[in-house]
Symmetry: C2
Subunit: 190 residues, 2 copies
């Protein structure tokens, strides 16, 4: 092992911080997530696979696994179940014969759309817990230091998918606003 | 539901951010943690209970559950197993007859001490992934915005236990340094 320029004490303090915070944060996110998806008979992995397929407009199983932080076999097995329910379809791409891709069926896309519309039917403690920061800074927190750590651990690929998902949300909502505007009911849209 | 001063788009973007980051961060922490405790035949909940008991110098089962972000029954059942292995002991306090307290036995304290000494025998990706921030800022990141969110979700109690654990690490290491200094081998200590 190479020499470290930080002490064991520093490592213990930081390990305690990141361990406690990440566990507490994830458990809160998980609870909110479970309440949100409960009416739809989906578990978190299944919903996460649909969500990733939606935002990436189709994704390889290995991208689903990477971005969903799950084993490839988990991603594959749950994708199969979603296919059986008619929410997801499997395909090969001409440009990439080796990987299996999944994408949402129309039924899957409708389900995700419905879930987004019903987002506020269940409590979201992580949103509520972030509102004071939003008031303070004028926007929701971005957790830039966490992002830097995640980039170092999971690599640039992971962050590219992350950014792609934001762009997709951005464009989906612009489209919807556009449609709603042309229907003249923007004021109730959001 | 009261009127919201943020849009559904903002909620979706933030939900995506906090969901992805917290899952990825926790999975990395969990993996590091599992590798660290593997030689000791403990699961994460069991080690977390020992860790909390160590840092709080004894804790009520409800504090263990709160700070360990686990159900009270989980905290109780795993504490019982640790008691059977002679690592933890149960007691009542005269000042608080209603709660059950746990504290480390000498055997439990020796185990935790040994694990701290062997911390660097296994990889810690979250430490390694945070080193570039440490180089940039001169210290490990503190994740202040995550702390603010956690405080809002879990309350001041949670943060007080969090702070107490830091003070304990601080004082443990000062003691040890002091002992080692008096033995004249500080240079190899950390």
């Amino acid at each position: 092992m190479s020499e470290r320029d930080y002490t064991l004490k520093e490592a213990m303090m930081f390990s305690q911080r990141i361990g406690q915070l990440s566990k507490a944060l994830w458990k809160a996110v998980e609870k909110d997530w479970q309440l949100w998806i409960k009416p739809y008979d989906l578990n978190i992995n299944e919903h996460h696979i649909l969500w990733i397929s939606y935002h990436l407009k189709g994704a390889s199983i290995s991208d689903v696994a990477k971005f969903g932080v799950m084993h490839v076999s988990t991603a594959f097995n749950f994708s199969k179940k979603l296919e059986e329910r008619g929410l997801l379809s499997f395909s090969k791409r001409d440009t990439d014969k080796r990987n299996t891709y999944v994408e949402l069926t129309d039924k899957g896309a409708d389900l995700i759309q419905e879930m987004i519309e019903k987002y506020h039917d269940t409590p979201h403690t992580v949103i509520d817990g972030s509102l004071p920061l939003r008031e303070l800074y004028g926007k929701f927190p971005e957790f830039m230091d966490v992002m830097a750590v995640i980039r170092n651990i999971y690599g640039n690929d992971f962050m590219e998918i992350f950014e792609a998902s934001f762009k997709n949300i951005e464009s989906k909502f612009s489209e919807e606003n556009h449609i709603l505007e042309s229907k003249g009911k923007t004021e109730n849209a959001l």
